[in-house]
Symmetry: C2
Subunit: 313 residues, 2 copies
């Protein structure tokens, strides 16, 4: 069974790590959000790609939840001494990734090629693709600060400003890299990982052609909302600020046109009333991925379910 | 007595440090070669400016002769792991300088403003100016590798290729920053530091207007060639490859149109036969700056000589 996962940052990376523990490299591909990429100190930074790759490589920092394990902070301390900005806390090892990515971009390589080259170096065997080789920038319009880049909103202001709306700058020029498109088209199942539905999954869906492909595919989503709360990050807060009560149901409603099956936490299924014509099967599982074993267990539960799926509700 | 020093990298930095030990900030300004600036990993690197500033700040690495003291190499090790280029060995602390400079450039500040800002942070009290706020790039045409950027020639190939010629790319657009021009115009004496005459001092002289100013000023040069050899770097090799026997005399001949006085190492003066109409006074001193005290001693010797200078040969 060939799986293609669509992932954002931390939640997506955990899900992908679980799947990678169960599936051979030929059976799992990952397409990653690049809407929260940005430029800082002249460097091209791809936070979600790095989180997914570091996690798959076993290099991720499980204490901070982002960045690299065994990290040090010598550069950012110097930047502070020089009066530079320290709101985006770049570790030394992480910085090397940004430097090398930037160098290869200036050398004329595209983000797909660079990601592949870095993955080879890190020993990541499952193919990881950016959602697009052309830059897309998620922008968040806030009540207090106006339009912010995603990283300003998310990191600099710790997602405290009230979100009024968001948009994906240059999404109209974004196309799946050829290999990512093939992976999506050839997948038996596409998994929408439990990442932020607005700013992690939605940018990938809005890349030219992706929704049209997904409409023809078997797609399963995993809810990032558990018991009305987000496991991590601003998803639940974003729901509220858009006037929607955060719930697993509202995530489902957002993705209902594309998905055939939907995984929620034990206990969250009872509240979900789907319309019969949506034709979506709801499965309760333990979706909390508190350690690597839990990631694998959830992945196994999903894969076992997909093996037996026959389209009945 | 107001002194403006024109300096390149290591030799120039040592001379400037000696002068800074003798002169108040109001009496010493430094104009630094930026021809060997370059872009690497997307970062703007100014090696000579950094060498001068680190030296004045007491932050320079006296073991390596370049970069920072207390340096570490975590990033470049990672770059190596990622298969990136390691020929330009950037230390972690040094890297922070390049990051912050690049960030401020992207922010719209010019190199003069950035240098001033960094100097304030480092506690450098004597004003240091780049020779130009617009980029100049020293290019070296070599027998074996064709045209190389200066850093490729100097660091990547360790100045082993045979130099056929060199040029200063974009020098036609280079003008002294206003404050640097004022420092030069208002100087009682201009000192050409014992830096490489071809690729460290010459780029500064070739900035628009500098030669015209120098023709009207009192200028003293210190020979970087001692006993027919360069203290450091490719100067002597360059002389030979241009078909000229390396000597203190040949440095003098190169700068003869601008200088009133010329300092050479004890023993090197006897071989120098100046033309009477050159009207240049030759002074032998101990020009070897083996430690900070030696830098100060040479600076004192020069300043004492300038105090008594009356224009007689």
């Amino acid at each position: 069974m060939k799986i293609t996962a669509i992932a954002g940052g931390v939640g997506g990376a955990k899900m992908v790590d679980g799947l990678a523990q169960c599936l051979e490299p030929g059976d799992l591909s990952v397409i990653v959000n690049t809407g929260d990429d940005f430029e800082h100190f002249g460097l091209s930074i791809s936070p979600d790609l790095d989180t997914v790759c570091y996690t798959l490589a076993g290099l991720s920092n499980d204490v901070t939840g982002w960045g690299r394990s065994g990290e040090s902070w010598r550069i950012i301390e110097q930047i502070k001494n020089l009066g530079g900005p320290t709101w985006f806390n770049i570790g030394d090892l992480d910085l090397a990734t940004h430097l090398e990515r930037t160098r290869q971009l200036k050398d004329g390589k595209n983000l797909s090629q660079i990601t592949q080259s870095l993955c080879e170096r890190w020993g990541v065997t499952h193919p990881v693709y950016p959602m697009s080789d052309s830059p897309v920038r998620t922008m968040v319009n806030t009540l207090e600060q106006g339009w912010l880049t995603f990283q300003e909103y998310f990191v600099k202001y710790q997602f405290q400003p009230v979100m009024k709306e968001y948009r994906f700058e240059n999404i109209e020029n974004a196309y799946l890299p050829e290999e990512a498109k093939n992976a999506l088209v050839n997948a038996d199942w596409v998994i929408l990982c439990p990442s932020n539905p607005f700013v992690s999954i939605d940018p990938v869906l809005k890349v030219n052609g992706v929704e049209q492909i997904l409409e023809k595919k078997n797609v399963i989503a995993v809810s990032p909302i558990v018991g009305g709360k987000a496991i991590k990050g601003p998803a639940a807060k974003m729901f509220l600020e858009l006037g929607i009560q955060p719930s697993a149901y509202e995530v489902l409603r957002k993705f209902r046109h594309f998905i055939n099956a939907y995984v929620v936490q034990f206990g969250d299924g009872t509240e979900i009333q789907t319309q019969p014509h949506w034709n979506i099967i709801i499965k309760e599982m333990d979706t909390i991925m508190s350690d690597r074993a839990a990631r694998k267990r959830l992945a196994m539960d999903i894969l076992n379910f997909l093996e037996t799926y026959r389209g009945e509700i």
